[in-house]
Subunit: 296 residues, 2 copies
Protein backbone atom coordinates (compact mmCIF):
# COMPACT_ATOMS: atom_id res chain seq x y z
CA UNK A 1 0.00 0.00 0.00
CA UNK A 2 1.48 3.37 -0.95
CA UNK A 3 1.07 6.53 1.11
CA UNK A 4 -1.93 7.82 -0.79
CA UNK A 5 -3.83 4.55 -0.39
CA UNK A 6 -2.97 4.30 3.28
CA UNK A 7 -4.02 7.91 3.81
CA UNK A 8 -7.40 7.35 2.18
CA UNK A 9 -7.96 4.27 4.30
CA UNK A 10 -6.87 6.07 7.46
CA UNK A 11 -9.13 9.08 6.79
CA UNK A 12 -12.07 6.75 6.18
CA UNK A 13 -11.34 4.87 9.40
CA UNK A 14 -10.98 8.12 11.35
CA UNK A 15 -14.26 9.38 9.93
CA UNK A 16 -16.01 6.18 11.00
CA UNK A 17 -14.63 6.51 14.52
CA UNK A 18 -15.79 10.12 14.78
CA UNK A 19 -19.25 9.35 13.42
CA UNK A 20 -19.70 6.52 15.94
CA UNK A 21 -20.02 9.19 18.59
CA UNK A 22 -22.61 11.43 16.97
CA UNK A 23 -26.02 11.61 18.63
CA UNK A 24 -29.19 10.16 17.15
CA UNK A 25 -31.49 12.64 15.44
CA UNK A 26 -34.59 12.23 17.59
CA UNK A 27 -36.74 14.19 20.04
CA UNK A 28 -37.86 17.81 20.21
CA UNK A 29 -34.19 18.78 19.88
CA UNK A 30 -33.90 16.90 16.57
CA UNK A 31 -33.11 19.97 14.46
CA UNK A 32 -30.04 21.00 16.41
CA UNK A 33 -28.74 17.44 16.25
CA UNK A 34 -29.33 17.39 12.48
CA UNK A 35 -27.43 20.66 12.19
CA UNK A 36 -24.56 19.29 14.31
CA UNK A 37 -24.36 16.15 12.23
CA UNK A 38 -24.68 18.06 8.95
CA UNK A 39 -21.59 20.02 9.91
CA UNK A 40 -19.72 16.97 11.21
CA UNK A 41 -20.50 14.93 8.13
CA UNK A 42 -19.52 17.73 5.74
CA UNK A 43 -16.16 16.10 5.24
CA UNK A 44 -12.72 17.53 5.70
CA UNK A 45 -9.46 15.73 6.17
CA UNK A 46 -10.07 14.78 9.83
CA UNK A 47 -6.42 15.59 10.42
CA UNK A 48 -6.75 16.38 14.12
CA UNK A 49 -8.20 13.01 15.17
CA UNK A 50 -5.90 11.32 12.67
CA UNK A 51 -2.80 12.96 14.17
CA UNK A 52 -4.08 12.06 17.63
CA UNK A 53 -4.46 8.41 16.77
CA UNK A 54 -1.11 8.26 14.96
CA UNK A 55 0.76 9.61 17.98
CA UNK A 56 -1.21 7.32 20.30
CA UNK A 57 -0.10 4.36 18.21
CA UNK A 58 3.50 5.58 17.85
CA UNK A 59 3.76 5.27 21.62
CA UNK A 60 2.67 1.66 21.37
CA UNK A 61 -1.00 1.91 22.38
CA UNK A 62 -3.31 -0.46 20.51
CA UNK A 63 -6.71 -0.13 22.26
CA UNK A 64 -9.68 2.18 21.60
CA UNK A 65 -9.40 4.42 24.67
CA UNK A 66 -8.35 7.33 22.46
CA UNK A 67 -11.53 7.25 20.37
CA UNK A 68 -13.78 9.54 22.46
CA UNK A 69 -11.02 12.15 22.36
CA UNK A 70 -10.68 11.76 18.58
CA UNK A 71 -14.38 12.50 18.19
CA UNK A 72 -14.21 15.35 20.70
CA UNK A 73 -11.43 17.24 18.94
CA UNK A 74 -13.19 16.93 15.58
CA UNK A 75 -16.39 18.29 17.18
CA UNK A 76 -14.47 21.27 18.55
CA UNK A 77 -12.83 21.94 15.20
CA UNK A 78 -16.23 21.68 13.50
CA UNK A 79 -18.02 24.02 15.91
CA UNK A 80 -15.31 26.62 15.34
CA UNK A 81 -15.97 26.44 11.58
CA UNK A 82 -19.75 26.71 12.05
CA UNK A 83 -19.40 29.85 14.14
CA UNK A 84 -16.58 31.28 11.97
CA UNK A 85 -18.80 31.06 8.91
CA UNK A 86 -21.65 33.08 10.47
CA UNK A 87 -22.67 36.39 8.87
CA UNK A 88 -21.33 38.36 11.83
CA UNK A 89 -18.00 36.55 11.60
CA UNK A 90 -16.48 35.59 8.20
CA UNK A 91 -19.87 35.47 6.44
CA UNK A 92 -19.16 32.46 4.24
CA UNK A 93 -21.94 30.71 2.31
CA UNK A 94 -19.89 27.69 1.27
CA UNK A 95 -17.32 25.44 2.89
CA UNK A 96 -15.80 22.38 1.28
CA UNK A 97 -18.15 23.00 -1.63
CA UNK A 98 -21.24 22.64 0.56
CA UNK A 99 -23.59 25.23 1.99
CA UNK A 100 -22.51 26.39 5.43
CA UNK A 101 -24.65 25.41 8.42
CA UNK A 102 -26.44 28.77 8.80
CA UNK A 103 -27.31 28.77 5.10
CA UNK A 104 -29.14 25.47 5.60
CA UNK A 105 -30.54 25.79 9.13
CA UNK A 106 -30.66 29.54 9.71
CA UNK A 107 -28.45 31.70 11.86
CA UNK A 108 -30.00 31.01 15.28
CA UNK A 109 -29.87 27.26 14.80
CA UNK A 110 -26.27 27.46 13.54
CA UNK A 111 -25.24 29.31 16.69
CA UNK A 112 -26.97 26.64 18.79
CA UNK A 113 -25.45 23.82 16.72
CA UNK A 114 -21.98 25.27 17.31
CA UNK A 115 -22.67 25.54 21.04
CA UNK A 116 -24.03 22.00 20.99
CA UNK A 117 -20.95 20.64 19.24
CA UNK A 118 -18.60 22.28 21.72
CA UNK A 119 -20.62 21.02 24.65
CA UNK A 120 -20.98 17.55 23.14
CA UNK A 121 -17.23 17.40 22.58
CA UNK A 122 -16.73 17.53 26.34
CA UNK A 123 -19.67 15.20 26.93
CA UNK A 124 -18.06 12.71 24.55
CA UNK A 125 -14.55 12.99 25.97
CA UNK A 126 -15.99 12.65 29.49
CA UNK A 127 -17.56 9.34 28.46
CA UNK A 128 -14.02 7.94 28.59
CA UNK A 129 -14.31 8.03 32.40
CA UNK A 130 -17.05 5.39 32.32
CA UNK A 131 -14.70 2.43 32.35
CA UNK A 132 -12.89 3.67 35.44
CA UNK A 133 -9.27 3.16 34.36
CA UNK A 134 -6.40 5.64 33.90
CA UNK A 135 -8.33 8.52 35.47
CA UNK A 136 -5.26 10.70 35.73
CA UNK A 137 -4.35 10.46 32.04
CA UNK A 138 -7.90 11.23 31.03
CA UNK A 139 -8.13 14.20 33.38
CA UNK A 140 -4.88 15.58 31.96
CA UNK A 141 -6.07 14.99 28.38
CA UNK A 142 -9.33 16.81 29.13
CA UNK A 143 -7.45 19.73 30.65
CA UNK A 144 -5.27 20.07 27.55
CA UNK A 145 -8.33 19.82 25.30
CA UNK A 146 -10.13 22.59 27.19
CA UNK A 147 -7.09 24.83 27.43
CA UNK A 148 -6.07 24.60 23.79
CA UNK A 149 -9.64 25.15 22.59
CA UNK A 150 -10.26 28.18 24.81
CA UNK A 151 -9.07 31.71 25.40
CA UNK A 152 -5.48 30.52 25.85
CA UNK A 153 -5.75 28.61 22.58
CA UNK A 154 -8.12 28.62 19.62
CA UNK A 155 -10.64 31.20 20.88
CA UNK A 156 -7.77 33.48 21.87
CA UNK A 157 -6.47 33.26 18.32
CA UNK A 158 -9.90 33.88 16.82
CA UNK A 159 -10.29 36.98 18.95
CA UNK A 160 -6.97 38.44 17.86
CA UNK A 161 -7.93 37.54 14.29
CA UNK A 162 -11.21 39.44 14.45
CA UNK A 163 -9.44 42.43 15.92
CA UNK A 164 -6.94 42.35 13.07
CA UNK A 165 -9.67 42.85 10.48
CA UNK A 166 -9.79 46.24 8.82
CA UNK A 167 -6.57 47.25 10.55
CA UNK A 168 -4.01 48.54 8.05
CA UNK A 169 -1.22 46.24 9.23
CA UNK A 170 -0.94 44.37 12.49
CA UNK A 171 2.41 43.67 14.16
CA UNK A 172 4.08 40.37 13.29
CA UNK A 173 3.80 39.35 16.99
CA UNK A 174 0.02 39.54 16.72
CA UNK A 175 0.02 37.56 13.48
CA UNK A 176 2.17 34.88 15.13
CA UNK A 177 -0.19 34.86 18.11
CA UNK A 178 -3.15 34.35 15.75
CA UNK A 179 -1.50 31.49 13.88
CA UNK A 180 -0.16 29.85 17.03
CA UNK A 181 -3.56 29.93 18.67
CA UNK A 182 -6.19 29.90 15.96
CA UNK A 183 -4.59 27.07 14.02
CA UNK A 184 -1.74 25.41 15.90
CA UNK A 185 -3.43 25.09 19.32
CA UNK A 186 -5.89 22.35 18.30
CA UNK A 187 -3.16 20.47 16.45
CA UNK A 188 -1.05 20.69 19.58
CA UNK A 189 -3.97 19.36 21.62
CA UNK A 190 -4.39 16.49 19.16
CA UNK A 191 -0.82 15.24 19.31
CA UNK A 192 -0.41 15.98 23.02
CA UNK A 193 -3.56 14.05 23.91
CA UNK A 194 -2.38 11.13 21.78
CA UNK A 195 0.81 11.07 23.82
CA UNK A 196 -0.83 11.68 27.20
CA UNK A 197 -3.35 8.89 26.70
CA UNK A 198 -0.57 6.49 25.68
CA UNK A 199 1.33 7.27 28.89
CA UNK A 200 4.12 9.43 27.44
CA UNK A 201 6.48 11.34 29.75
CA UNK A 202 6.12 15.07 30.40
CA UNK A 203 9.21 15.69 28.27
CA UNK A 204 7.68 13.79 25.36
CA UNK A 205 4.38 15.64 25.75
CA UNK A 206 6.22 18.93 25.62
CA UNK A 207 8.07 17.78 22.49
CA UNK A 208 4.72 17.03 20.88
CA UNK A 209 3.51 20.50 21.81
CA UNK A 210 6.45 21.86 19.78
CA UNK A 211 5.72 19.53 16.88
CA UNK A 212 2.08 20.63 16.84
CA UNK A 213 3.21 24.24 16.87
CA UNK A 214 5.46 23.86 13.82
CA UNK A 215 2.91 21.83 11.86
CA UNK A 216 0.22 24.37 12.69
CA UNK A 217 2.32 27.34 11.66
CA UNK A 218 3.40 25.68 8.41
CA UNK A 219 -0.21 24.75 7.66
CA UNK A 220 -1.54 28.24 8.34
CA UNK A 221 1.13 30.09 6.38
CA UNK A 222 0.50 27.68 3.52
CA UNK A 223 -3.22 28.49 3.84
CA UNK A 224 -2.44 32.18 3.53
CA UNK A 225 -0.37 31.45 0.43
CA UNK A 226 -3.12 29.30 -1.12
CA UNK A 227 -5.70 32.00 -0.38
CA UNK A 228 -3.88 34.20 -2.88
CA UNK A 229 -2.83 31.58 -5.43
CA UNK A 230 -5.75 29.10 -5.65
CA UNK A 231 -9.05 29.29 -7.44
CA UNK A 232 -12.50 28.61 -5.98
CA UNK A 233 -12.64 25.33 -7.86
CA UNK A 234 -9.44 23.99 -6.36
CA UNK A 235 -10.08 25.10 -2.81
CA UNK A 236 -13.82 24.40 -2.54
CA UNK A 237 -14.28 27.73 -0.80
CA UNK A 238 -14.07 31.38 -1.66
CA UNK A 239 -10.50 32.59 -2.20
CA UNK A 240 -9.01 36.02 -1.95
CA UNK A 241 -11.09 36.39 1.22
CA UNK A 242 -8.09 37.65 3.16
CA UNK A 243 -7.63 40.50 0.74
CA UNK A 244 -11.38 41.15 0.74
CA UNK A 245 -11.32 41.37 4.54
CA UNK A 246 -8.14 43.47 4.45
CA UNK A 247 -6.39 40.87 6.58
CA UNK A 248 -2.73 40.98 7.40
CA UNK A 249 -1.19 37.61 6.53
CA UNK A 250 2.34 36.29 6.14
CA UNK A 251 1.92 36.99 2.46
CA UNK A 252 1.00 40.67 2.91
CA UNK A 253 3.95 41.16 5.26
CA UNK A 254 6.66 39.03 3.64
CA UNK A 255 5.41 38.22 0.16
CA UNK A 256 4.88 34.74 -1.24
CA UNK A 257 8.51 33.72 -1.60
CA UNK A 258 9.60 34.44 1.93
CA UNK A 259 6.35 32.94 3.24
CA UNK A 260 7.22 29.72 1.44
CA UNK A 261 10.59 29.73 3.14
CA UNK A 262 8.87 30.08 6.51
CA UNK A 263 6.74 27.04 5.66
CA UNK A 264 9.90 25.05 4.89
CA UNK A 265 11.55 26.14 8.10
CA UNK A 266 8.61 25.01 10.24
CA UNK A 267 8.34 21.72 8.39
CA UNK A 268 12.02 21.01 8.86
CA UNK A 269 11.70 21.71 12.58
CA UNK A 270 8.64 19.47 12.84
CA UNK A 271 10.30 16.64 10.93
CA UNK A 272 13.47 16.75 13.01
CA UNK A 273 11.46 16.52 16.21
CA UNK A 274 9.19 13.80 14.88
CA UNK A 275 12.30 11.69 14.18
CA UNK A 276 13.09 11.61 17.91
CA UNK A 277 9.72 9.96 18.71
CA UNK A 278 9.47 6.19 19.26
CA UNK A 279 7.94 3.80 16.71
CA UNK A 280 7.65 3.88 12.92
CA UNK A 281 7.36 7.52 11.90
CA UNK A 282 7.20 7.09 8.13
CA UNK A 283 3.47 7.62 7.68
CA UNK A 284 3.39 10.57 10.07
CA UNK A 285 6.23 12.28 8.21
CA UNK A 286 4.55 11.66 4.87
CA UNK A 287 1.28 12.98 6.26
CA UNK A 288 2.83 16.22 7.48
CA UNK A 289 4.47 16.82 4.13
CA UNK A 290 1.37 15.97 2.13
CA UNK A 291 -0.73 18.35 4.22
CA UNK A 292 1.60 21.23 3.69
CA UNK A 293 2.60 20.72 0.08
CA UNK A 294 -1.00 20.49 -1.10
CA UNK A 295 -2.62 22.26 -4.02
CA UNK A 296 -5.91 22.91 -2.33
Amino acid sequence: MNFKEELELRIKETEQIVLQFIPEEVGYQKTVIEAMNYSLKAGGKRIRPLFMQLVYQLFGATDNEIQPFMAAIEMIHTYSLVHDDLPSMDNDDYRRGKKTTHKVYGEGMAILAGDALLNYAFETALKSFDNGICFERKAKALQILARKAGIFGMIGGQTADIEAENVEQIPIEQLNFIHENKTAALLQAAVMIGAIMAGATDLQISLLEDIGFHIGLAFQIQDDILDVTSSLEQLGKATGSDEKNKKTTYVTIYGILQSKEEVSRHITEANQKILTLPGDKEFLLDLVNSLIYREK
Copy 2:
Protein backbone atom coordinates in the same frame (compact mmCIF):
# COMPACT_ATOMS: atom_id res chain seq x y z
CA MET B 1 -29.97 37.48 60.83
CA ASN B 2 -33.26 37.22 58.95
CA PHE B 3 -33.69 35.45 55.62
CA LYS B 4 -33.30 38.57 53.51
CA GLU B 5 -30.06 39.54 55.21
CA GLU B 6 -28.67 36.03 54.96
CA LEU B 7 -29.65 35.86 51.29
CA GLU B 8 -27.89 39.10 50.49
CA LEU B 9 -24.77 37.89 52.27
CA ARG B 10 -24.92 34.52 50.54
CA ILE B 11 -25.37 36.05 47.08
CA LYS B 12 -22.41 38.36 47.70
CA GLU B 13 -20.29 35.43 48.86
CA THR B 14 -21.34 33.34 45.86
CA GLU B 15 -20.51 36.20 43.53
CA GLN B 16 -17.06 36.53 45.06
CA ILE B 17 -16.42 32.82 44.61
CA VAL B 18 -17.47 32.93 40.96
CA LEU B 19 -15.41 36.02 40.22
CA GLN B 20 -12.31 34.40 41.75
CA PHE B 21 -12.22 32.14 38.72
CA ILE B 22 -12.52 34.72 35.96
CA PRO B 23 -9.49 35.17 33.70
CA GLU B 24 -7.29 38.27 33.70
CA GLU B 25 -7.96 40.76 30.90
CA VAL B 26 -4.56 40.68 29.18
CA GLY B 27 -2.96 39.63 25.90
CA TYR B 28 -4.10 39.80 22.29
CA GLN B 29 -7.27 37.99 23.37
CA LYS B 30 -8.08 40.75 25.88
CA THR B 31 -11.34 41.83 24.23
CA VAL B 32 -13.00 38.44 24.42
CA ILE B 33 -12.01 38.16 28.08
CA GLU B 34 -13.45 41.62 28.74
CA ALA B 35 -16.69 40.57 27.03
CA MET B 36 -16.81 37.34 29.07
CA ASN B 37 -16.25 39.23 32.30
CA TYR B 38 -18.71 41.97 31.34
CA SER B 39 -21.41 39.33 31.01
CA LEU B 40 -20.35 37.47 34.15
CA LYS B 41 -20.25 40.64 36.22
CA ALA B 42 -23.61 41.88 34.96
CA GLY B 43 -25.27 40.59 38.09
CA GLY B 44 -28.12 38.23 38.50
CA LYS B 45 -29.09 36.19 41.51
CA ARG B 46 -26.36 33.57 41.11
CA ILE B 47 -28.96 31.00 42.09
CA ARG B 48 -27.34 28.03 40.38
CA PRO B 49 -24.01 28.22 42.22
CA LEU B 50 -25.88 29.20 45.38
CA PHE B 51 -28.11 26.12 45.19
CA MET B 52 -25.04 24.01 44.47
CA GLN B 53 -23.22 25.24 47.54
CA LEU B 54 -26.29 24.93 49.76
CA VAL B 55 -26.80 21.29 48.82
CA TYR B 56 -23.07 20.61 49.21
CA GLN B 57 -23.23 21.99 52.73
CA LEU B 58 -26.53 20.23 53.59
CA PHE B 59 -24.67 16.97 53.07
CA GLY B 60 -22.07 18.08 55.59
CA ALA B 61 -19.24 19.21 53.33
CA THR B 62 -17.31 22.22 54.59
CA ASP B 63 -14.33 22.59 52.21
CA ASN B 64 -13.90 24.56 48.97
CA GLU B 65 -13.79 21.66 46.52
CA ILE B 66 -17.18 22.69 45.14
CA GLN B 67 -16.03 26.18 44.13
CA PRO B 68 -14.72 25.46 40.59
CA PHE B 69 -18.06 23.84 39.81
CA MET B 70 -19.94 26.84 41.22
CA ALA B 71 -18.04 29.12 38.86
CA ALA B 72 -18.46 26.70 35.96
CA ILE B 73 -22.24 26.50 36.19
CA GLU B 74 -22.57 30.28 36.38
CA MET B 75 -20.35 30.59 33.29
CA ILE B 76 -22.58 28.14 31.42
CA HIS B 77 -25.72 29.98 32.47
CA THR B 78 -24.13 33.28 31.42
CA TYR B 79 -23.00 32.05 27.99
CA SER B 80 -26.53 30.83 27.31
CA LEU B 81 -27.87 34.33 28.03
CA VAL B 82 -25.22 35.99 25.83
CA HIS B 83 -26.14 33.78 22.87
CA ASP B 84 -29.89 33.95 23.60
CA ASP B 85 -29.80 37.73 23.42
CA LEU B 86 -28.20 37.80 19.95
CA PRO B 87 -30.13 39.42 17.07
CA SER B 88 -30.63 36.05 15.37
CA MET B 89 -32.02 34.59 18.60
CA ASP B 90 -34.20 36.68 20.98
CA ASN B 91 -32.70 39.99 19.81
CA ASP B 92 -32.64 41.69 23.21
CA ASP B 93 -30.78 44.96 23.75
CA TYR B 94 -31.02 44.96 27.52
CA ARG B 95 -30.73 42.40 30.30
CA ARG B 96 -30.88 43.15 34.01
CA GLY B 97 -31.11 46.81 33.02
CA LYS B 98 -27.72 46.70 31.26
CA LYS B 99 -26.84 46.59 27.58
CA THR B 100 -26.47 43.03 26.32
CA THR B 101 -23.01 41.80 25.35
CA HIS B 102 -23.47 42.16 21.59
CA LYS B 103 -24.71 45.74 22.04
CA VAL B 104 -21.43 46.58 23.76
CA TYR B 105 -18.90 44.38 21.95
CA GLY B 106 -20.58 43.64 18.61
CA GLU B 107 -22.17 40.45 17.39
CA GLY B 108 -19.05 38.52 16.37
CA MET B 109 -17.33 39.17 19.67
CA ALA B 110 -20.49 38.24 21.60
CA ILE B 111 -20.63 34.89 19.81
CA LEU B 112 -16.96 34.31 20.67
CA ALA B 113 -17.47 35.45 24.27
CA GLY B 114 -20.31 32.94 24.65
CA ASP B 115 -18.15 30.18 23.19
CA ALA B 116 -15.32 31.25 25.46
CA LEU B 117 -17.54 31.15 28.55
CA LEU B 118 -18.79 27.66 27.75
CA ASN B 119 -15.27 26.42 27.10
CA TYR B 120 -13.89 28.18 30.17
CA ALA B 121 -16.62 26.61 32.29
CA PHE B 122 -15.16 23.19 31.53
CA GLU B 123 -11.61 24.50 31.85
CA THR B 124 -12.52 25.80 35.31
CA ALA B 125 -14.34 22.68 36.48
CA LEU B 126 -11.43 20.56 35.20
CA LYS B 127 -9.08 22.54 37.45
CA SER B 128 -10.66 20.63 40.31
CA PHE B 129 -8.62 17.59 39.19
CA ASP B 130 -5.37 19.37 40.06
CA ASN B 131 -5.31 18.32 43.69
CA GLY B 132 -5.70 14.66 42.78
CA ILE B 133 -8.40 13.61 45.28
CA CYS B 134 -11.91 12.24 44.75
CA PHE B 135 -11.39 11.72 41.01
CA GLU B 136 -14.54 9.66 40.67
CA ARG B 137 -16.85 12.25 42.19
CA LYS B 138 -15.37 14.96 40.03
CA ALA B 139 -15.66 12.89 36.87
CA LYS B 140 -19.32 12.21 37.67
CA ALA B 141 -19.97 15.87 38.45
CA LEU B 142 -18.38 16.88 35.14
CA GLN B 143 -20.49 14.35 33.26
CA ILE B 144 -23.68 15.73 34.79
CA LEU B 145 -22.60 19.29 34.04
CA ALA B 146 -21.95 18.46 30.38
CA ARG B 147 -25.11 16.41 29.96
CA LYS B 148 -27.49 18.90 31.54
CA ALA B 149 -25.97 21.81 29.60
CA GLY B 150 -26.10 20.04 26.23
CA ILE B 151 -28.54 18.60 23.73
CA PHE B 152 -30.09 16.37 26.41
CA GLY B 153 -30.52 19.40 28.64
CA MET B 154 -30.36 23.17 28.18
CA ILE B 155 -29.43 23.27 24.48
CA GLY B 156 -32.14 20.69 23.76
CA GLY B 157 -34.66 22.97 25.44
CA GLN B 158 -33.43 26.04 23.58
CA THR B 159 -33.78 24.20 20.29
CA ALA B 160 -37.37 23.18 20.99
CA ASP B 161 -38.01 26.76 22.12
CA ILE B 162 -36.74 28.26 18.85
CA GLU B 163 -38.84 25.79 16.88
CA ALA B 164 -41.91 26.82 18.87
CA GLU B 165 -41.62 30.42 17.72
CA ASN B 166 -44.19 31.58 15.23
CA VAL B 167 -46.08 28.31 15.58
CA GLU B 168 -49.75 28.90 16.37
CA GLN B 169 -49.81 26.60 19.40
CA ILE B 170 -47.34 23.88 20.31
CA PRO B 171 -48.41 20.71 22.16
CA ILE B 172 -48.15 20.81 25.95
CA GLU B 173 -45.59 17.97 25.78
CA GLN B 174 -43.27 20.21 23.81
CA LEU B 175 -43.80 23.09 26.23
CA ASN B 176 -42.96 20.78 29.13
CA PHE B 177 -39.89 19.58 27.26
CA ILE B 178 -38.78 23.19 26.78
CA HIS B 179 -39.26 24.10 30.44
CA GLU B 180 -37.70 20.90 31.72
CA ASN B 181 -34.64 21.36 29.57
CA LYS B 182 -34.21 25.05 28.95
CA THR B 183 -34.68 26.04 32.56
CA ALA B 184 -34.76 23.07 34.91
CA ALA B 185 -31.76 21.16 33.51
CA LEU B 186 -29.11 23.57 34.81
CA LEU B 187 -30.83 23.79 38.21
CA GLN B 188 -30.83 20.01 38.30
CA ALA B 189 -27.12 20.01 37.47
CA ALA B 190 -26.49 22.55 40.25
CA VAL B 191 -28.15 20.57 43.03
CA MET B 192 -26.99 17.19 41.72
CA ILE B 193 -23.36 18.33 41.55
CA GLY B 194 -23.62 19.71 45.09
CA ALA B 195 -24.75 16.27 46.22
CA ILE B 196 -22.27 14.29 44.09
CA MET B 197 -19.30 16.31 45.29
CA ALA B 198 -20.38 15.84 48.91
CA GLY B 199 -20.50 12.08 48.44
CA ALA B 200 -24.29 11.58 48.38
CA THR B 201 -25.79 8.21 47.39
CA ASP B 202 -27.26 7.55 43.94
CA LEU B 203 -30.73 7.62 45.48
CA GLN B 204 -30.11 11.01 47.00
CA ILE B 205 -28.68 12.32 43.72
CA SER B 206 -31.80 11.17 41.93
CA LEU B 207 -33.97 12.86 44.57
CA LEU B 208 -32.11 16.10 43.91
CA GLU B 209 -32.70 15.68 40.20
CA ASP B 210 -36.44 15.67 41.00
CA ILE B 211 -36.13 18.67 43.29
CA GLY B 212 -34.28 20.60 40.57
CA PHE B 213 -37.00 19.65 38.12
CA HIS B 214 -39.82 21.02 40.28
CA ILE B 215 -37.97 24.21 41.18
CA GLY B 216 -37.14 24.76 37.52
CA LEU B 217 -40.69 24.23 36.34
CA ALA B 218 -42.12 26.50 39.03
CA PHE B 219 -39.54 29.16 38.19
CA GLN B 220 -40.20 29.03 34.46
CA ILE B 221 -43.99 29.06 34.71
CA GLN B 222 -43.68 32.01 37.09
CA ASP B 223 -41.44 33.67 34.50
CA ASP B 224 -44.15 33.19 31.87
CA ILE B 225 -46.68 34.73 34.26
CA LEU B 226 -44.41 37.70 35.04
CA ASP B 227 -43.77 38.25 31.34
CA VAL B 228 -47.45 39.17 31.03
CA THR B 229 -47.97 40.94 34.33
CA SER B 230 -44.77 42.94 34.99
CA SER B 231 -43.53 46.21 33.62
CA LEU B 232 -40.09 46.92 32.14
CA GLU B 233 -39.14 48.85 35.26
CA GLN B 234 -39.84 45.97 37.61
CA LEU B 235 -38.25 43.25 35.50
CA GLY B 236 -35.21 45.14 34.16
CA LYS B 237 -35.84 43.66 30.74
CA ALA B 238 -38.42 43.96 27.99
CA THR B 239 -41.74 42.34 28.89
CA GLY B 240 -44.50 41.04 26.73
CA SER B 241 -41.74 39.51 24.61
CA ASP B 242 -43.48 36.13 24.58
CA GLU B 243 -46.56 37.67 23.02
CA LYS B 244 -44.39 39.64 20.61
CA ASN B 245 -42.65 36.42 19.55
CA LYS B 246 -45.99 34.57 19.39
CA LYS B 247 -44.68 32.08 21.93
CA THR B 248 -46.81 29.38 23.46
CA THR B 249 -46.44 29.56 27.25
CA TYR B 250 -48.31 28.07 30.20
CA VAL B 251 -50.23 31.32 30.30
CA THR B 252 -51.38 31.12 26.67
CA ILE B 253 -52.49 27.51 27.16
CA TYR B 254 -53.96 27.58 30.67
CA GLY B 255 -54.40 31.24 31.54
CA ILE B 256 -52.83 32.99 34.53
CA LEU B 257 -54.91 31.40 37.28
CA GLN B 258 -54.29 27.81 36.37
CA SER B 259 -50.64 28.60 35.68
CA LYS B 260 -50.35 29.91 39.22
CA GLU B 261 -51.80 26.64 40.51
CA GLU B 262 -49.16 24.74 38.55
CA VAL B 263 -46.49 26.87 40.22
CA SER B 264 -47.91 25.96 43.64
CA ARG B 265 -48.04 22.29 42.79
CA HIS B 266 -44.37 22.20 41.74
CA ILE B 267 -43.29 24.17 44.80
CA THR B 268 -45.17 21.83 47.13
CA GLU B 269 -43.49 18.83 45.48
CA ALA B 270 -40.08 20.46 45.76
CA ASN B 271 -40.59 21.40 49.39
CA GLN B 272 -41.75 17.92 50.39
CA LYS B 273 -38.70 16.36 48.81
CA ILE B 274 -36.33 18.94 50.27
CA LEU B 275 -37.63 18.01 53.75
CA THR B 276 -36.28 14.46 53.31
CA LEU B 277 -32.70 15.76 52.80
CA PRO B 278 -30.20 15.75 55.68
CA GLY B 279 -29.14 18.90 57.57
CA ASP B 280 -30.84 22.23 58.25
CA LYS B 281 -33.15 22.93 55.33
CA GLU B 282 -34.67 26.22 56.50
CA PHE B 283 -32.66 28.58 54.33
CA LEU B 284 -33.02 26.38 51.24
CA LEU B 285 -36.80 26.25 51.67
CA ASP B 286 -36.98 30.01 52.15
CA LEU B 287 -34.81 30.52 49.10
CA VAL B 288 -37.02 28.38 46.87
CA ASN B 289 -40.11 30.23 47.98
CA SER B 290 -38.55 33.67 47.63
CA LEU B 291 -37.39 32.86 44.11
CA ILE B 292 -40.80 31.79 42.99
CA TYR B 293 -42.98 34.31 44.76
CA ARG B 294 -41.01 37.26 43.45
CA GLU B 295 -42.33 40.41 41.86
CA LYS B 296 -39.60 40.73 39.31
